[in-house]
Structures are given as structure tokens and as C-alpha cells.
Amino acid sequence: MYSLQLSPEQLEIRDTVRDFVTREIKPVALKADRLDLCDRSLLTDLLDQASQMGLRSLALSEERGGAGADALTSCIVTEELAAGDADIAAVLSESSRLAHMLFDQCMNDAQREALLPKFLGGDRYHLAFAGCEPGTDTRLGVNYHRPADTEVMVKTTATKSGNDWIINGVKDCVANAPVAGLFAVLVQIPGRPAASVLLVPADAPGLSVRAHDNAWQHGTCGEVTLKDCRVPAGNLLGDDAAAVLTGTAAPGRGVPLAQALNLGIGRAAYEAALDYAHLRVQGGRPLIEHQAIGTKLAEAAIRLEVARGAVWQAAWASDHPEAISDRSLSDLPLTTIAHVFTSEAVMKAAKDAAEIFGAMGVMRDMPLAKYVHDARVCQHSGDGNTDARLRVAEEIAGYRRASKSAMALAGE
């Protein structure tokens, strides 16, 4: 039965995280000297606290020590965190997402036995997926509605040497790379038809990470170089791991964590402007009582509300493919749809919120400029909205590509 009722657990975790954000994150994250984008540092202590609250292992199954949160719950938590600080939200949601994929879905018992205790034991043990490679073109672009001329190949190789794999290659834009304890690395094993995934601990010899400065990505990310990096043969994940981690199985239908994060940014901007509009008096009356300001805030509220519906729909759908098969839900790529819509709605909300703050809305050490920047980063993410629309267009046209590996790499 159709119902928009959240479970008591969902309502409770939302309140808990919202409270944590209000009391702990915001006072630190919105300090003027930390807002400057040039050196926006990761709030490590708060990440530790969040980990202790279970947010690093949120989506990991309960029997393996996590909270077993479903996609909707994960999105609710991510939105709340992002309303406080997009970077904290990004790091935690990436670890949580990968914890579920790696420990619950991809590892065999031996791997899990070796690695799960490390993950559970260290609040600073984050996870990263090293999929993307420098210079790889993942756009649909000119190949819209045509078979791609060339297959996107993974250039990082893994070759067997005795009982070890030797990995060589460079990965770029790896989220969580600077804080990861464990990497899942997408590699090509010569002779195999598809890509494979190797588990590489951060301290593996030959692995080095260069954190990106001033990157247009939330959280922390970096370039990962693997130079004759050696891991034991047992670190190879099963054949389906590449599909699970790259989202190839259902492109455009992954868990919309990035979109929930985006929504949190928009909400933070909107709420800041709403508060300010109550306080600030102009022409003898609070801003909110001016039609022009009320209308702007209402428009933001409308778009954010509608965007949340789109994100939650995509989240629930990612856990319930059966609702797509029985046609309760559309068979379009709902996460891609949520992405396009949310990123534009939030961008507009952030800009309008900034306008309400006047000159303070364009100061680098004030929250609004941060929200505007954060919203732009979301708009820029993946291959951009122009490409996202082309992916939706192929779906509505019923066009099926022979291979989806290129799309998969693009993520959402």
C-alpha cells in the first residue's frame, strides 16, 4: 500500500541527526575562518563523533555490526548531515554506502573476517572506491542514441605475480581517498573480458594518495597512484563486484545519496534565509512580510519540497525494484531524474537565499557563499545535467546500449 508514513526509527534517527547537526556541527562548520573555500578543512573530530553514533556504518547490515539502514533512511540522514556540513555528509555517506556494498554484498567470508574488524574498530577507517581514471571520457554526448565508437577501458592493470596481484595505474577523483583505510580498486586483469575489483589497504606498498586542493567535490577526494602496488591474491572480489560498485546493473537507479546531500545544502540555505527574513527589518517591517521576499522563499520551499519527494522516491525505488516491475513506479532512471531536478532547484534556492542576505550573501567567510558554491559543485557533478538529460532521453526512447560500462563509470 502506498504510504508516506516514516517508521518510528526513521523519525527518530532524523531527529537525532538533526539535533547533532544543530548542537555540534553547525557551530563549528559555520565559523568564518572555516568557511573560506580555499582551506575548508575536514572536521575530523565531528566525523569521529558521527562514527560513534553509527553514521559511518549506517547502511551496513545489523548482523555485521551496522545499523542496516535502507536507502531511504540513508538519504534522510545524508540530507540532515549536509544541512550542517556537506563535507561531513559526503565522507560518511560514502563510507556507509561502500560498507554495505563491500561487506554485505561483495566480500567472501575470508575477506570479511580480515577486514570487517578493522572497519568496525576504527572511527577514522573510511572506505573509498577507486573507479574513475584521469582523462576518461564518460559522457554520452555525441554518442547519444548511437553505439559508442570505442569501449571505455579500465587502464589500471592487475597482473598475477606468485601469490600476489601487482597493480599499476592512476585513479582520479576518488572520494574519501585521503581518509580511507581501505580502497576497492577497479582494475583490468589482462585476458579477462570485464573489469575486476581488488581490495587494497591504504598502507599497501606502492599506493599513494594526493589529496586535491580546492576540488569541486564534497568531502575529500584525491588522486590515487598505484605503482607496482602489491596485494595478496585473496583480495580479489567476486566477478559481480565491478557491476555492484559501478552501478552498472541499474544505471540511473542507484541510491540517491548525492541528491540527498544536495537537498541538505538547499535546505540549509533556505532555512538561513528564512531565519534572517524574520529578523531583518526593512522599510519598517521584517523582510518576510515583503511580498518579494516571501515569494522568493515560498518558491524555494516549493522546489525543495518537490525535490525531496523525487529523492525519496528514487531512494525507495532503489530498494524496491518490484515496484518498477509491477508498474507502481515509472521505469525511468529515477535517480538521474532526482539529480537533474534537485541540482537545479537547490541552485536556485541557494542563489535566492544569498540575495536575501544582500552583500553578506557574496562574502567568502559567510555561510551563503558556501551554500552557493556547494550547490554549484552538485550541479557540476557527474557529467553535468546536459548529459544527464541525454541519458533520460535514451531511456524514454527505449534505446538500449550494448554495453553500459561507460555509463556506469559516470555514476550519478
Binding site: D36, T138, G284, K351, A354, E355, A359, G361, D383
Partner: protein, 397 residues
């Protein structure tokens, strides 16, 4: 109807283009990167530009300036902004107040200040209007004595004693002479109780506070002004006591060109950003391949470029018309409308540019990032609802 430029206009345009290409563009991204706001400024480029006349071009010839018309000024602002919007603004900000000096100061005041301004390559002008908590109220004054500027000026013999603060004041940290709005009578509404003063830097009791850390227009200096028993001679009162708003705002601003130049200035500067985005996007699309073909081959890219140029050329047409109207002393709502429009167009064009440059994983091209931030500055200056409503009132005037 004639859109041709005169030889003199064309030659200023070419000189500005050359200066922009050879001097401004090479330092633009580097200055933008500097994280301490006080250090983004570069006197060297100001001096070089000043020697070419870009600091004093709005000063009448009889006072030693270049006496350029508004069309020329619009052309130069656009050209300079193509290379760096903030540096363009650092020059044109001086023209704005040159116009005000010409239009409102007495001969004696002109004699005291203009020669010094013209002679000194590092002499910059500014105006302190906005205060920490009264931005919009001062832009659209209402008839309530409780509203308006809080900075107070009290007469003591031949001097006025100023106390209070100004915020977000352009050129404050680098200027040598400022117009300052001060409340000289708080028992009457702002329109009757505000007076305009000329305050040189170095006035005892007047100092600059923090420099604001803007997300765009990094080069351009924007600071706090602090007045603690600052002493300003009565001879520095501009116009009448209590007449500040009549002089510079509303219909007064329209007569002096003060307000209207500001509108044209923002519109012409935004046009430069748009030109930059259009030219770079076109070049990028015609040289960058995706999937083995030039981006240019894609319909979506063509449509995005179409929109960028369409809006930019509409804005150019509008800017040039407004500049001409100013030269003809035709005062209408057009300057304000063009300013509002430049906010919308500047943002839309830079966002389309970002979409075309787009996909590059977690990296962002610095130039794209910069012009997005620069164009966003208009949001609170030129495109906010107060700006727009203010212009609407001129429509029905």
C-alpha cells in the same frame, strides 16, 4: 539610427582591448587566487592603466581629464571586464565619482581635489553609503526619521564631527578621497536629514577597518570605514546640508548621472564577462573533442552557444543604447532595466559556459570558476528585488 563608433570611441576601445589582453588577462587568475582579501590588490596594474587614461577618463578636459562620453566609457568598461571584471570595476569606480564631483561640487572643491586626483596615478575615489545594518533602507528611503543612515555628523564651528561606521565600501582600503553620507538631522526623515561630505583619507579620526572577503571580484577592495570623532571642514559639504539624497539618489541621481552611471557601469561590466564567456566557449567547442568529434558537432552545445550569444548581443544592444541616452541626457528607466538585465544575463551566460566546460570529474577550470563567482556579485547589486522595484518606480514616474 547609427551604431557606428566615432574614431575616438574606436580608439579608446582598441586601447582598452590591448591593455586588457596584454596586461590584465595575464595577472587575472593569479590575483583571484590570493586568499587574503587585502593582498589581491595590485598597484602596478592601476598605475599602468592610469597612465593610459583609464583612471581619469571621465574627468572633463578642462580639469585635465579625458572628457570621454558615456558610450566610450561603456566600451572601455566592457573591454577591461573581458579580461577581469574586478579590475575593470577598480578603474570605473573612479569615473562614477568623477561624474559626481563634476556635477555637484563647487569650483573651490573641484580646485582642491581634481588636480590632485588627475596628477596622482594612485589617487582613487570612493563613496560610503551602506552601513552595517541599513543597506536596502538607504537605497529605497522611506519617510520615517528612525530609518536611514546612522553615521552622525554634528557641527562644531567650522567643522563637522563624524561618528559611526560604513560597511561594504568599494575602494575604501585603497582610496584617497570619499563621499560620505552622514545623518545631520535625525529628527526628520532621511531625505531631509542626510548630508554628503567629502572626506580625504588621512582625516583625523577616520580609518579603514576590515577588508571584506568577497567570493567574486576578489581584486576589487571593499572595506569598512570607521569614524571616531573624525573632523571634516564645513567646506567639504557637498551641496546643501540635508541635501545628500536629493543630490545623489532618485531624480537627483538621474540629473547628475551619479546613480545612472552606476547602472550603466554594472551593465557594461557584465557585458565584458559575457563576451569573455562567449568567446571562450566558442573556442572551446571548436577545439575540444568528445567521443572523437568536436563538441561543436553536438546540437546541445550549439543550442547552449546560441543562447549565450543571443543574450549577450541583446545585452550589448541595450548597453549601447543606454550609454547613448546618457550622452543625450535622455533619462529614462532604461539604465536601470539594463542593469537588472545584466544580472540575469551575466548569470545565465556564465552558467551555460560552465555547462559547456562541464564534465571534468571533480575538477573545475579556474577561469570558469572565477567568472561564475564574479557574475554572481550582481545578484545583490543589480538583480535583487530592491533594485528592480526601484527601477520600476522610474517607469511610472
Amino acid at each position: 539610427m547609427d551604431f557606428n563608433l566615432s574614431n575616438e570611441q574606436r580608439s579608446w576601445q582598441m586601447a582598452a582591448r590591448k591593455f586588457a589582453d596584454e596586461e590584465i588577462r595575464p595577472i587575472s587568475l593569479e590575483r583571484d587566487t590570493i586568499s587574503t582579501p587585502r593582498e589581491t590588490w595590485d598597484w602596478d596594474i592601476i598605475k599602468k592603466g592610469s597612465k593610459l587614461g583609464f583612471r581619469t577618463m571621465a574627468v572633463p578636459k578642462e580639469w585635465g581629464g579625458h572628457g570621454t562620453d558615456f558610450v566610450t566609457q561603456a566600451l572601455v568598461m566592457t573591454e577591461l571586464a573581458k579580461a577581469d571584471s574586478a579590475i575593470s570595476k577598480a578603474f570605473s569606480q573612479n569615473w562614477k565619482w568623477s561624474h559626481l564631483i563634476s556635477a555637484t561640487c563647487t569650483e573651490e572643491q573641484k580646485q582642491r581635489f581634481l588636480p590632485g586626483f588627475v596628477a596622482d596615478d594612485t589617487f582613487l575615489l570612493g563613496k560610503g553609503g551602506t552601513e552595517p545594518s541599513a543597506g536596502s533602507d538607504n537605497r529605497m528611503p522611506i519617510d520615517d526619521p528612525k530609518t536611514g543612515h546612522k553615521l552622525k555628523a554634528e557641527r562644531k564651528g567650522d567643522e563637522w564631527i563624524l561618528n559611526g561606521e560604513k560597511a561594504f565600501i568599494a575602494n575604501a582600503p585603497v582610496g584617497k578621497l570619499f563621499f560620505i553620507d552622514a545623518r545631520t538631522d535625525s529628527t526628520v526623515p532621511p531625505k531631509q536629514g542626510t548630508t554628503l561630505f567629502l572626506v580625504p583619507s588621512g582625516t583625523p579620526g577616520f580609518r579603514i577597518g576590515k577588508v571584506f572577503n568577497k567570493s567574486g571580484w576578489r581584486f576589487y577592495q571593499n572595506g569598512e570605514m570607521i569614524f571616531e570623532n573624525a573632523r571634516v571642514p564645513h567646506a567639504n559639504v557637498v551641496g546643501d546640508v540635508g541635501g545628500a539624497i536629493r543630490k545623489t539618489g532618485g531624480r537627483g541621481g538621474e540629473a547628475t548621472g551619479g546613480d545612472l552611471f552606476g547602472d550603466l557601469e554594472l551593465a557594461a561590466n557584465a557585458l565584458g564577462i559575457c563576451d569573455d564567456a562567449c568567446a571562450t566557449a566558442l573556442k572551446f567547442a571548436k577545439t575540444t573533442k568528445q567521443g572523437g568529434q568536436l563538441l561543436w558537432a553536438q546540437q546541445n552545445v550549439q543550442l547552449q552557444i546560441n543562447k549565450m550569444f543571443m543574450l549577450t548581443e541583446a545585452l550589448r544592444s541595450f548597453v549601447m543604447r543606454v550609454a547613448w541616452e546618457h550622452d543625450m541626457k535622455i533619462h529614462s528607466a532604461n539604465a536601470g532595466l539594463a542593469m537588472n538585465y545584466s544580472c540575469d544575463v551575466g548569470q545565465e551566460v556564465t552558467e551555460l559556459y560552465m555547462e559547456i566546460r562541464g564534465a571534468d570529474g571533480c575538477h573545475m577550470d579556474h577561469h570558469t570558476d572565477k567568472i561564475l563567482r564574479d557574475a554572481f556579485i550582481w545578484n545583490h547589486l543589480a538583480g535583487d528585488s530592491v533594485s528592480r522595484m526601484k527601477v520600476t518606480r522610474r517607469l511610472a514616474a
